[in-house]
Amino acid sequence: MTNQEWKFTTKDIAEKPDLFTSGHRACAGCGPATVLRLIMKATRGPTIVTEATGCMEVVSSIYPYTSWAVPWLHTAFETAAANASGIEAALKVMKRKGRLKQEHVDVLAFAGDGGTYDIGLQALSGAVERGHDFLFVLYDNEAYMNTGIQRSGGTPLGAATSTTPAGSVLPGKLEHKKPIAEIMLAHEMPYVATASPYYWKDMLTKVRKGLEVDGPAFLHVFAPCPRGWRSDPAKSIEYSKLAVESCVFPLWESVNGICQLSVPSKLVALAPQKKKSVSEYMQGQGRFRHLFTPQNKNLLEEIQRMTDEKWQRLLKKCQTEKT
């Protein structure tokens, strides 16, 4: 497929019919549901979606109902990328044998953090290594929300989950969040990016780029979960802004291995004095409440220090690769 110019204006987005439709059973303020609805607006033609087991799969496909206006397949928790491989292989051979009605069909895989960082990582790595042409979207709500808020490889340090509760001895999760986008970048794949639904135009542009690129693309999307984060459902989009402003979740993209900061994070880099603290981002999220007690003061400082270090590393990487 040739690249095409596109513009995602508010009007265009509003007018384009939903492919992830209303009527699903997601909670109020659900970040992933907003992300999916928006992302489906960025599709460019015939699209087949496959999805890992998880919140979004469960809320959207309760038999005999569906929220999907595109062909959609769910098989298991760890199989989103393997399914995408099979769909793409079938499309290729059908085209070769003259049995495909469409000129081109895009393949889009959705998985949560469990289905990406943890149980689905092997299948994802394999599919990317094999070079299948598909876009894998990780909607990251930072724990196993569907099964009741258990910790995952995507849960940040210090977060309380149902398997890492904040107790009198332990302050929530003791380990760091896995750098998943960097892991995918190490696959030397054509397109890797991070996105946040507050910056929806940036997110949709990245979706479209991921679809247009030949070969595998990976998009890591920040997706607040009010139930799991013990946060106000009205503030999900606000948190997806604060995460970027505090550099907890910086936005960048890598095209053929060249890393660049995306505009929202570039603005933070240009005006470091405006950079928010991790405390500003964490306040109001029940999962981090215990970090604001005197007992965990050191841990909160450690999280700030780690976030700053990672941000500096990213700045360096984006600068080096530009020159």
Binding site: I62, Y63, H74, N83, G86, I87, A89, A90, M94, G126
Partner: protein, 410 residues
């Protein structure tokens, strides 16, 4: 007599015979992961791909779990799909076996039957696929490489039939068949292509009442693999069981149609009876051991012993009626199991054959022999001993041990 189609003789191992059949069956997608003793199948197929002999999309996945997930997805796209595995590979697929049958994806899979760890053992027994007997896959077990070739071709017809639409396992004994060279009669490419035909898809009704083919198609969006709560799940499962029942008839039809084409049939497709009409003592077995047993039955018959053999070719769906009628005259039956249901009082085949015989008026004695685990060889002398044991049971009217172990150091 009707003339049979042109065929040529090739020296093929069981695995090669499978690969050759897949090559000729116009398969769209093969996704697989290597494991002994199945490896030759995918290696051979890789050769076909490298030499441009097939148009198939060959996906070398990073695990068996992904291999089956990819096959499933390709299958619900409307593609004809094939995979192969064994032992630990099949065990790793366990989750996806149920998803595949539940999604009504007619994937064809060859299993070079092999023991399961631990201890690690690469040799042949049937523990791997017997452990998957409730996964909703049709299971056919072959006696030799010729039958492996023939059964793979038949498998596409059976699995993809719109009245069945279930995945199928064709089991061939690891090493005994997978790696042993045999003379195999192969059909011409066109004959196979014609026999398997183009995959047909059943039509289903959309919520708007429109009749559309059952596949993922951007023109007719369909949600596949939904979540079903207690109000619907049960009906899905009952439909799978009905499809299994439909397979009983279809397997027989495909077997006779194939026999008409090339002159080879395997009993009625479900079971193969050998000297059972007037038999008093009989052995029931699955797989390649039937070959050895036939020679044992022959020599016993020469000595005037009314011995017979029932080879269970189709294990899922279980041909209950056929087992009953084939064993109607038999007074003592030994069921051979190349797998063990630990703590289950015998093996899977034993349980099922004994279950099938419970309702007959004049119930025979039915005993179990577990044998060949981890590839341990079984010889004609030992198998002859089984028939002698059965004669002993008839003489004494007493079963000393319901479950026995053949060729085991105790």
């Amino acid at each position: 007599m009707k003339s049979i189609c042109k065929q040529r003789l090739m020296a093929l191992s069981g695995d090669e015979a499978v690969a050759h059949a897949v090559k000729q069956s116009d398969v769209d997608v093969v996704a697989a992961y290597p494991i002994t003793p199945q490896t030759i199948i995918v290696e051979k197929f890789g050769e076909y791909v490298a030499n441009g002999e097939v148009q198939t999309e060959f996906v070398c996945t990073e695990s068996e779990h992904s291999a089956l997930a990819a096959c499933l997805a390709a299958s619900v796209m409307g593609a004809r799909t094939f995979t192969a595995s064994a032992s630990a590979g099949l065990a790793l697929m366990h989750e996806m076996l149920f998803v595949t049958s539940g999604s009504r994806a007619p994937v064809v899979m060859a299993i070079a039957n092999r023991a399961l760890s631990a201890p690690l053992n690469i040799h042949g027994d049937q523990s791997d696929s017997m452990a998957e007997r409730d996964s909703g896959w049709i299971q056919v077990y072959v006696e030799n490489s010729q039958e492996a070739y023939d059964s793979i071709i038949q498998a596409f017809r059976i699995a993809e039939d719109v009245g069945v639409l279930l995945p199928i396992i064709v089991g061939l004994d690891g090493f005994t068949l997978s790696h042993s060279l045999e003379n195999v009669k192969v059909l011409e490419d066109d004959a196979v292509k014609k026999f398997v035909g183009i995959r047909q898809l059943p039509n289903v009704l959309t919520h708007e009442g429109k009749s559309v083919p059952f596949r993922l198609d951007p023109d007719n969006p369909m949600t596949m693999g939904p979540i079903a709560f207690p109000n619907y799940y049960f009906e899905f499962k009952r439909q799978q069981d009905e499809a299994m029942k439909n397979a009983l008839g279809l397997i027989q039809e495909v077997n006779s149609e194939f026999a008409e084409l090339c002159g080879r049939g395997y009993g009625n497709g479900l079971v193969e009876a050998y000297h059972l009409v007037d038999a008093e003592v009989a052995v029931v077995c699955v797989g390649s051991t039937a070959g050895t047993l036939k020679t044992v039955v022959d020599s016993l018959r020469n000595e005037g012993v009314k011995a017979g053999l029932l080879r269970l070719r189709t294990f899922r769906p279980l041909p209950v009626e056929e087992i009953r009628s084939a064993l109607a005259s038999v007074k003592a039956v030994a069921v051979m199991d190349k797998s063990l249901s630990f703590g289950g009082n015998g093996g899977a085949v034993f349980h099922e054959v004994r279950h099938a015989l419970y309702d007959v008026d004049d119930r025979p004695y039915v005993v179990n022999y577990v044998y060949g685990l981890g590839g341990r060889d079984v010889n004609p002398r030992e198998l002859r001993g089984v028939f002698e044991d059965l004669q002993g049971i008839l003489r004494t009217r007493r079963v000393a041990n319901l479950v026995r172990y053949l060729g085991l150091r105790e």
